[in-house]
Amino acid sequence: MKRVPAPNEIQPDSFTFTPENLEKAKQHIAKYPPRRQASAVMPLLDLAQRQHQNWLPRAAMDAVAEMLEMPRIRVYEVATFYTMYNLAPVGEHFVQICTTTPCWLRGSDDVVSACKSKLGVELGETTADGKFTVIEVECLGACANAPMMQVNDDYYEDLTADNTAAVLDALAKGDKPKAGPQSGRRGSEPAGGPTTLQDFTLQDSRGDG
C-alpha cells in the first residue's frame, strides 16, 4: 500500500527532542566513529517517532538531519524507504496484521475481517475516535504462532476472530491485554501441549550433576 506523507496543514512547524530522548540520541550517536554520525539516523528517527504520537513529521526528520549534519533529503530517503516509519498520523493503537503466507494459511483473513467489523474501518484507515489504525503488513517473523498482529510494540499471536475481538475490546477499554499467544499455549510450544521433555526428573538429575 502506498504511504502518503501527512499534508502540510497538519505538519508541525518544529520538533525538538525531549531532554531524555536527547540523552538517548547522544548515546546512539556515540556508538559510531567520529564523522560517521549519520549512521545513527535510523535509531534517531525511531526515537523521534516514539516521541511524536507514533508518526514522523517532516520537522522531526529535519531536526534529525541537522543533528547528524546530513542533508535533509538523505533523511527523507531513509524515512520513506523503511515502512516502519509512519509519515502520517496513526491511531493510538497501531494494528498491523500479518497476511503473508503462513499467517494467511492459518486464518489471517478471519483476523482482518474481525478487525474490520469490530472497528468499522477498512485496511489503512483510522477509526473516527482516533483510537485505532489498521494496516496489513508483510511477515513479522512470528510464523510459529500464526496468525498474528502487532499492536504498537506488542505481538498478539495465535489469533482467531473471537480472541482478536477480545484483544481489541480490551484495548478500547484502556486495558492492556497480555501480549503473546492468545490460545493459552506458552511461547511456540506445540498446539496440544508439550510432546517432549515432559519428564522433569530427568532434567533435575542432570541439574545436580
Binding site: K2, R3, P71, R72, I73, R74, Y76, E77, T80, F81
Partner: protein, 696 residues
C-alpha cells in the same frame, strides 16, 4: 594492466576500468541509461548487460571491473535477450506519450527502444503514474516518464554540490524529487535536464516549442561570464529556441550555468532595433544618417581640443573586434579617454600574468591547495566553481577564503576555511603569520584566485600587489606551475586588456570619465554596451549608447546606435584564462541593428577618418597585427608575469562580491522573463518589475 577480449578483440586497459569503458575504447558502444562518464556508477538500469564467459548470468558492464583473461560478448544472443528483457521492464511503466514529449527525437529511451524494444507490450495491468515534482522555475518535470536511473540525483550531489534531490520511497513506488517541493538552489540546474536520458526532466523555457530536427545548430561561445563556456545555439528561423552546452574539456566540460542557458529569451525582448536621437528631451526613432549626423554635429562643435573632451567605455559583453574599432576611432579623434574596466578594477594591461587565470580552468584539477580572495566563484564563474568542487571532491584540497562571500556560512558547494574578510587577512597570508600560509607553502601546487571584489576598489592595485606577494611567499609561482590567477567576471575584460582598451597618456579611467562627465569636462561619452555605470552622475554629457538592449545606458543616451547581441555576430572573445575563441552568428540582429564593428566603421567614414578595414577578414588580420596573441585560437598558457600591482595603503573594508544577484548580472538577463522569475524566487529581489500577485 589486465588484458581482456571483447567481441573477439583483445585490449589491455588500466586495472580499475570497467568493461563498458574498455569496450568504448575499442569503439564498441554498449547501450546504457544510468551510466554517465562524469558521474558515479549506479548500475541500476540493467541496459548495459553483456555476456561474460564462465559467469552464470549476464553482467552489468558499467559496474563490472575488468579482469585478466575476461571474455566478453556484447552482442551475443544472451546479451541481446537480457537487454530486451531490461528494456521491456523499463517500458512497463513508461507512458507511450512520445508525440507530446519534449524529449522526443533526442531521447535515449526512444532510440534504444528502436533497437531493443519488443514493438508491443505484454503488460496488460495498469501502468503506474507518479505525481510531477517541483524543482524550480527552470526544470519541467513529468515524473511518470522517469526510469529512476538516478543520474539527476548523482549530478546534484556530486557535480552541483547541492544534496537536495533524492530517491524517496521504495520498490515500484520509488520517486525522484526533493520530497519537500522546493526549488533547487543550484546555478547548474539546467544540466539536470541534459543528463536525464528520458523526458522526465526537460527545460521549462523550451517546453512544447519545437522538435530537434527543426533547429539550425550554431556552435558559439557564451558571454554571460568570463568563463567562455562553449555553447550550441539552436534556432528556428530567426528565433533562438534554446542554448545548450557544447563539450570543451578545458572550460565547461559538458555543463552550462543557468544564466548562460536560460537568459536567451531576453535576446528577443527590450531590443534596440533602430537608431534613436534625443529630440527635445525625448528619444525619437531616426535613420542611421540622422543619428551619425547628430554625433558629428556634437563632435564638430567641440573645437580643436575635442580629444580631451570625449571618452569611451566598453561594457562587459563587448567583443574584441568592436573594441578595437572603437579604440582606433577614438585614437583618430585624438582621445585617450578609453576604459574597458567598467567596474573600476585596478588591473593594468601591461603584463598578461596580472590579469588572466594563469593556471587555466582545467589546471585547477592539478592544484593541491587554494586561496580565494575577494571572489564568490559560485556566482561569478559557476563552472570554475564546479571545477573547484570537482578537485575538492577528489580529496586533499584545502580551500581558504578571504572575503567575497557573506561570511563563513556561505555555501560554495565545498568546505573551506574562512580566514577573514579583507586585505588585513591577505597581508597575514603574505607575511606568513596566518596558519593557512603554511598550508599553501607546504602544498606542491598551491593556487590563488583573486576576484574582482578584491580589485574593483580604491586600494585594488595595492591588493593585487599584496596577492602577488602572497603568491610568491607561498611558492605559487614556479617554473612548472603558475598558481596566480585573476578571475575576471566580464567576457570582454581580458580581450579589452589585451587590446589596451585603457586610458592612454593623460587619459581618464572609468571613475575619471564619470566624474569628468558630471563636472562638464567630458562632453561626449560613447558607451559600447556599458550599462553598469551610474547613469545619474553623467551630468550634461552627450551620451552615445551603442548596444543591443534598452537598459540603463539606452535610457540615458542622447543617441542610440543599435548593435548586435553575442548570438548575432561573428566575433572574438577572450575568456578569463586568456583563451581566444570565436563566437558565430546564429541569427541576424533585429531590424536596423548592425554588427558593432560595422557601425563604428561607418561612423568613422562620416567623420572623414575611415578605419582601415572594410570586412571582417581585414579587421581580423589587422587585429592579429596589433595583438598577435589574438590570432592563436583556443590555446591557454600562463601569462608573462612582469610587474603589476602597486604597493600602497590598504583599506579596512572587507572584500565584497560584485554580484548580488546571479540572475540579473547583465542587460540580457535583465530583459529575460525567466531570469526575472529566478531572481524573484532565489533572491527575493524584484527583478524587472514588482510582483502583482497574478504572475506566479
Amino acid at each position: 594492466m589486465p588484458t581482456l577480449t571483447i567481441d573477439g578483440q583483445e585490449i589491455t586497459v588500466e586495472a580499475n576500468t570497467t568493461v563498458l569503458q574498455a569496450a568504448e575504447e575499442l569503439g564498441i558502444e554498449i547501450p546504457r541509461f544510468c551510466y554517465h562518464d562524469r558521474l558515479s556508477i549506479a548500475g541500476n538500469c540493467r541496459m548495459c548487460l553483456v555476456e561474460m564467459e564462465r559467469a552464470p548470468k549476464p553482467v552489468a558492464s558499467c559496474a563490472m571491473p575488468v579482469g585478466e583473461g575476461m571474455v566478453i560478448h556484447t552482442n551475443s544472443p544472451v546479451a541481446e535477450k537480457a537487454r530486451k528483457g531490461a528494456m521491456e521492464f523499463l517500458l512497463i511503466n513508461h507512458p507511450l506519450d512520445c508525440p507530446i514529449c519534449d524529449q522526443g527525437g533526442e531521447c535515449d529511451l526512444q532510440d534504444q527502444a528502436v533497437a531493443y524494444g519488443k514493438g508491443d507490450s505484454r503488460f496488460t495491468e495498469h501502468k503506474l503514474s507518479v505525481k510531477d515534482k517541483y524543482l524550480g522555475p527552470l526544470i519541467a518535470t513529468s515524473m511518470t516518464r522517469c526510469i529512476t536511473c538516478t543520474r539527476c540525483v548523482r549530478f546534484a550531489t556530486e557535480i552541483a554540490g547541492v544534496e537536495e534531490i533524492g530517491a524517496t520511497f521504495r520498490g515500484e513506488e520509488t520517486e525522484i524529487g526533493t520530497y519537500v517541493e522546493e526549488a533547487l538552489t543550484s546555478e547548474l540546474s539546467g544540466n539536470l535536464a541534459d543528463v536525464c536520458p528520458v523526458g522526465a526532466l526537460t527545460h521549462r523555457a523550451y517546453a512544447y516549442s519545437s522538435r530537434p530536427w527543426e533547429l539550425i545548430k550554431t556552435e558559439s561561445v557564451d558571454v554571460h561570464d568570463a568563463v567562455g563556456s562553449n555553447i550550441r545555439i539552436d534556432c528556428r528561423g530567426a528565433e533562438i529556441m534554446r542554448i545548450l552546452p557544447r563539450l570543451h574539456e578545458g572550460i565547461n566540460e559538458e555543463w552550462l550555468s543557468d544564466r548562460s542557458r536560460y537568459a536567451s529569451d531576453g535576446l528577443a525582448l527590450q531590443r534596440l532595433d533602430q537608431p534613436y536621437v534625443r529630440v527635445d528631451g525625448k528619444l525619437t526613432p531616426a535613420s542611421w544618417e540622422t543619428a551619425f549626423a547628430a554625433i558629428k554635429t556634437k563632435l564638430d562643435g567641440l573645437g580643436d581640443d575635442a580629444g580631451g573632451r570625449i571618452a569611451a567605455i566598453a561594457g562587459d559583453m563587448a567583443d574584441v573586434e568592436a573594441m578595437l574599432a572603437l579604440k582606433e576611432l577614438f585614437t583618430a579623434l585624438g582621445s585617450t579617454n578609453l576604459d574597458c574596466r567598467q567596474d573600476g578594477a585596478k588591473i593594468e594591461g601591461r603584463h598578461r600574468g596580472g590579469y588572466i587565470f594563469n593556471s587555466s580552468i582545467a589546471g585547477i584539477e592539478d592544484a593541491d591547495a587554494l586561496l580565494l580572495v575577494g571572489c564568490n566563484p559560485r556566482t561569478e564563474a559557476t563552472l570554475v566553481n564546479a571545477r573547484i568542487r570537482k578537485r575538492w571532491s577528489a580529496g586533499g584540497f584545502p580551500v581558504g577564503v578571504i572575503g567575497g562571500v557573506d561570511g563563513p556560512g556561505t555555501d560554495l558547494t565545498y568546505k573551506y576555511d574562512y580566514l577573514g574578510a579583507g586585505p588585513a587577512t591577505l597581508a597575514e597570508v603574505a607575511d606568513g603569520s596566518n596558519a593557512f600560509a603554511k598550508v599553501l607553502a607546504d602544498a606542491e601546487r598551491p593556487m590563488i584566485i583573486v576576484g574582482s571584489g578584491a580589485l574593483a576598489r580604491d586600494d585594488g592595485a595595492a591588493v593585487l600587489d599584496l596577492a602577488r606577494k602572497a603568491a610568491e611567499s607561498t611558492g605559487m609561482i614556479a617554473a612548472e606551475w603558475n598558481g596566480f590567477n585573476v578571475l575576471q567576471r566580464a567576457a570582454s575584460r581580458v580581450g579589452g586588456l589585451d587590446l589596451g582598451f585603457l586610458p592612454g597618456e593623460g587619459g581618464r579611467d572609468v571613475a575619471g570619465i564619470v566624474a569628468g562627465a558630471g563636472k562638464g569636462e567630458i562632453d561626449l561619452l560613447w558607451l559600447l554596451g556599458a550599462d553598469e555605470i551610474d547613469m545619474a552622475t553623467l551630468g550634461k554629457a552627450f551620451v552615445v549608447y551603442q548596444g543591443h538592449h534598452g537598459d540603463a545606458g539606452a535610457h540615458r543616451a542622447d543617441v542610440i546606435l543599435p548593435g548586435a547581441a553575442y548570438t548575432e555576430k561573428d566575433a572574438t572573445w577572450v575568456n578569463t584564462e586568456g583563451r581566444v575563441q570565436h563566437g558565430r552568428r546564429a541569427a541576424y540582429p533585429p531590424g536596423d541593428a548592425r554588427e558593432d564593428w560595422t557601425i563604428l566603421r561607418a561612423f568613422s567614414a562620416v567623420m572623414g577618418q575611415p578605419l582601415a578595414y572594410d570586412n571582417l577578414a581585414q579587421l581580423r588580420d589587422h587585429m592579429v597585427e596589433v595583438v598577435p596573441g589574438l590570432g592563436v585560437i583556443d590555446e591557454v598558457g600562463p601569462g608573462e608575469m612582469g610587474s603589476f600591482g602597486m604597493p600602497g595603503d590598504l583599506g579596512a573594508d572587507g572584500f565584497e562580491s560584485p554580484i548580488n544577484d546571479y540572475y540579473m548580472a547583465n542587460a540580457i538577463c535583465r530583459a529575460s522573463a525567466v531570469m526575472a522569475e529566478c531572481s524573484r524566487l532565489y533572491t527575493g529581489a524584484g527583478g524587472t518589475g514588482e510582483a502583482t500577485g497574478t504572475d506566479g
